[in-house]
Symmetry: C2
């Protein structure tokens, strides 16, 4: 089993943090996104979308969505539970993780890609399908949606020390990676979001944050 | 337990089809999205995002993402399995479902919302957070991304009768709902995608398609 990975990219980081929290070690193959290696034939033969991360199972099956990879390892090694411990907690983690992904990760991606000179002709990540030029209005939409993301964080932290309550979960991991990604476009946790700033300082000190 | 639902909206339809395939019956409360009921105070007290569907558990917990609701019922009643039967199949279903959602449902949503006169001032579904005007370039981006969605469908159907292989799963449900939604914006399965057209005719005849 091996993981096609990229140290600088936010989605592979979600998987690396997840694995580090579980103490799972895997063979990792680094793909140089900044150098365009993900769009070359060799990698496109592995993932026609040209996106990372990709988990390759021993039988050759490839799984190329971060959450699909994390769910796989949650089943392989349930402890520590990162996707919820019981029926209700699982539903809450799935729901909130998704909000972190949409309002945090994807909004940031839209801000980043649609203003970066490297992607002026490629608004959509990866290869295949359409070639779409950058859409500057998405910078504004993404920036505004990130306000909602930060609002969610502060709201969730009124209920407990972590974003899904008493336990550190995938909701925290996705939020951490989204915040780190947002820093690339110089968008930061608002100063008045005191609970979020304290939480972020604490979770950033976990060893998995270095993964 | 009850489900806040909307007959005409594509995301609630995913949950209704999922429940119908499992034979689960629930109390349903219809919210009139076309009449704007989802953006009025009464419903915003239930879901501040103003989106549907929302599952309300007996203890009052509300789960407001279609996949979180489906995963909940997959655990409550595992048969028939709609999210995969074993470790590998679950990973494949999670991965492919997600592609159907992004390249199918969300692309269609972008085409629909950014050209519909009702949403000229509201590009992002639901309430809360930013008010974003329509972004006409997303009509083009969504239309082109739908080409990739249809490419995936034909490719998956080379491997088996359903989109994740031998079994009808959530991948099929999301794809069916995306295709139905795309018809609203007059985008249809390409004529040359023969396997997809045959599959769509067959799955549309399932009783759950009427749910």
């Amino acid at each position: 089993m091996k993981l096609y990975d990229c140290q600088v990219a936010p989605n592979p980081r979600r998987v690396r943090m997840f694995l580090a929290e579980k103490g799972i070690e895997l063979e990792k193959i680094e793909i140089d996104i900044l150098g365009g290696e993900n769009l070359q034939d060799e990698f496109l033969a592995i993932n026609p979308r040209g996106l990372l991360p990709v988990l390759e199972l021993d039988d050759g099956t490839r799984i190329d969505e971060a959450m699909a990879i994390c769910r796989y390892f949650e089943e392989v090694q349930p402890e520590p539970a990162l996707l919820g411990r019981d029926l209700k907690e699982k539903a809450i983690v799935t729901m909130r993780q998704r909000k972190m992904e949409f309002d945090g990760m994807i909004s940031t991606s839209e801000v980043f890609r649609n203003q970066h000179e490297q992607f002026l002709k490629r608004s959509i990540p990866g290869a295949g399908g359409a070639i779409i030029p950058a859409i500057p209005a998405l910078i504004d939409r993404g920036t505004q949606t990130l306000e909602r993301f930060f609002w969610w964080l502060e709201k969730y932290l009124e209920e407990g020390p972590y974003l899904a309550g008493e336990q550190f979960t995938m909701v925290d991991i996705t939020a951490i990676c989204a915040i780190g990604f947002a820093e690339w476009v110089e968008i930061y946790i608002p100063d008045e979001n005191i609970k979020t700033k304290k939480w972020y300082e604490e979770v950033s000190a976990r060893p998995s944050a270095e993964a």
